[in-house]
């Protein structure tokens, strides 16, 4: 089976080996990484991390809006690695995750996938 390397940039660059079949949360926790999580089906955002480099598949997530995805956030409980990746994990990585909606509204294309409309160019 194809294995990918996960580097945790905010854990002194620690590296782990994962497969592309199982979610990252499960595989990293299985190797002893302390990670926050809640629902484990991609709906509650507790497990969000920031993808610094590489590619993942997180089609099953429903917690993030399109702006959060554009800012690099990934939902580890459903995301799978599709290449070697570098992640920033834990709540420390959430600096850009939350925004005050009265200060900084979303544009229609930045909403969650089920209600977003395509960006007008």
């Amino acid at each position: 089976m194809m294995l990918h390397r996960v580097t945790l940039s905010n854990r002194n660059g620690a590296t782990y080996s994962v497969n592309g079949r199982r979610p990252l949360l499960e595989q990293l926790r299985g190797q002893g990484v302390d990670l926050p999580y809640g629902c484990e089906y991609g709906g509650c955002i507790t497990c969000a991390a920031k993808l610094v480099a590489g590619n993942i598949d997180q089609r099953r997530q429903i917690a993030l809006n399109n702006r959060q995805i554009a800012n690099g956030y990934v939902i580890l409980c459903v995301a799978r690695a599709t290449s070697d990746i570098t992640l920033e994990i834990g709540v420390e990585s959430h600096d850009n995750l939350y925004r005050n909606p009265f200060l900084d509204p979303l544009k229609p294309h930045e909403l969650k996938a089920d209600i977003a409309t395509p960006e007008e160019l």
Binding site: D34, P36, Y37, G38, C39, Y41, G43, C44, I45, T46, I62, A63, L64, N65, G90, V91, E92, H94, L97, Y98, R99, N100, P101, F102, L103, P105, L106, P108, L111, K112, I115
Partner: protein, 450 residues
């Protein structure tokens, strides 16, 4: 209390004359703070004669991390007053994110509650297809808990019934009718009525608040009236723009009254309902808090009235404006015509009271609990971890606070007590956030009379 009797009090009038509270319990969370520690139940000393007054004197850690404790409720209340085999002994603490229900024994040592058992969240999903627990009420000797979603976090969820030994009975309701969302509920047995309100699906509110989703109808705007015995909704009120995010619902404590109130959080309105002379349920908006302009923000700021409660004598209504930062007291002697009789600021985004009793307040007044005699209102500042992180990001470093507001039940009026403040920013494991509070001897949101 006479030994003939079960928990609570024979009537609201008797409850008002109960001894003053000496302890209170509040939940405190680490979920979403970045501190990988369990959420806990804190015991706060509220006896001014005690050397540890205004301090956390005990912390009961939950067994796991990431529950997001939120609201809680008792195994028994005054609805069991006639049953001497029952006692107000166990507090039920749901984890909104984990789905676990923690049963805590507060009677063996009220200062140091202990964990009695945990109903596993996975078992609830498997047996009842429910997630996102919120309000806990006892029904005579049984317990029902509103859940906001099914096992996949989709609305409307339903109600879990437990027996008095905390075994899962199954779903309480016979039908959810056309209800789109769940949240809070309260019932008034003499009128065979239950009223429930609407927040959103767990998958919508858990990740945070996208204001834009309100317009896409992902948040609630209806109130539902239930035939309590038949366990099914019979009538719904569409509140429209006046009732966006109708959250907390409370009836008068007087069991003969049909008047009740709901705080519509985003509209920042109080909705009042009652049964008219023809036996029809009616509703009206009785309080409308205007949005305020923040000097640098494009969108006017709503108050966000996330909670409300009624004093035990049914004379005063207390509401919060979490984003504006004020607590308000209204005289509701005439429930159609509330009169503002008190207002204090603590925290909030408008900068009106950044510091209270020497402690910097992050967050605004959010949950509150009133003493049975109506004189002491204990107020906490955190709403929900992800929402806190959006509106008050500094709360990660500063934690929540608990403030006491002294209320005048004779003439109206409120002032912040200068002698009391609990700074959850100074907790031993790091800044945590306090939320709902309950008093062992009963308070103004725990009891219903049959």
């Amino acid at each position: 209390m006479k030994d003939c009797c079960g928990p609570g009090y024979a009537s609201p009038a008797e409850a008002i004359n109960a001894p003053r509270e000496k302890l209170l319990y509040t939940i405190a969370i680490y979920t979403g703070t970045g501190i990988q520690k369990p959420d806990y139940l804190a015991t706060v000393d509220v006896d001014p004669e005690s050397p540890t007054y205004s301090e956390v004197i005990h912390r009961l850690d939950m067994p796991g991390i990431g529950d997001e404790l939120h609201h809680m409720g008792w195994n028994a209340c005054s609805s069991c007053h006639g049953d001497s085999s029952m006692s107000r002994k166990f507090l039920i603490l749901p984890g909104v994110r984990s789905n676990n229900l923690h049963i805590v024994d507060t009677a063996t040592d009220p200062r140091a509650p202990r964990l009695h058992n945990v109903i596993d969240g996975a078992e609830i999903k498997a047996k009842a297809d429910l997630s996102g627990p919120h309000t806990v009420h006892c029904l005579g000797s049984e317990i029902i808990i509103s859940f906001l979603g099914n096992a996949k976090g989709e609305a409307p969820g339903g109600y879990l019934q437990l027996d008095k030994d905390f075994n899962i009975v199954g779903r309480w309701e016979n039908s959810m009718g056309n209800i789109k969302f769940g949240y809070d509920f309260w019932y008034q047995p003499r009128h065979n009525i239950m009223v429930s309100s609407e927040w959103a699906a767990p998958n919508t509110f858990m990740p945070g608040f996208d204001l834009e989703e309100v317009g896409h109808l992902k948040y609630g705007r209806e109130l539902h009236f239930w035939d309590f015995e038949k366990k099914e909704p019979v009538e719904s009120f569409y509140l429209g723009e006046d009732g966006l995010l109708p959250l907390e619902v409370k009836f008068h404590h007087d069991p003969d009254s049909t008047h009740g109130f709901c705080g519509a959080a985003l509209s920042t309105n109080v909705i009042h309902w009652w049964k008219d002379h023809d036996g029809k349920w009616q509703w009206e908006k009785i309080i409308d808090v205007e949005n305020e302009l923040h000097p640098e923000w494009p969108i006017p700021l709503p108050g966000v009235m996330s909670a409300l409660l009624v004093s035990m004598d049914d004379k005063y209504l207390y509401v919060n404006n979490w984003l504006h930062g004020d607590m308000r007291q209204y005289d509701i002697t005439d429930p159609h015509n509330p009169k503002l009789t008190g207002q204090v600021f603590m925290g909030g985004l408008l900068g009106r009271a950044p510091t209270v009793n020497g402690v910097e307040v992050t967050g605004g007044p959010q949950m509150f609990q009133l003493s049975l005699d109506g004189r002491r209102l204990y107020v906490t500042t955190s709403l929900f971890s992800t929402w806190d992180n959006q509106f008050y990001p500094e709360i990660r470093e500063k934690g929540g606070v608990m403030v006491q507001i002294d209320c005048d039940p004779e003439n109206g009026g409120m002032t912040i007590s200068p002698d009391f403040i609990v700074d959850f920013g100074k907790e031993p494991n790091g800044p945590s956030r306090c939320h709902e509070a309950r008093y062992p001897g009963g308070d103004c949101t725990s009891d219903i009379w049959l």
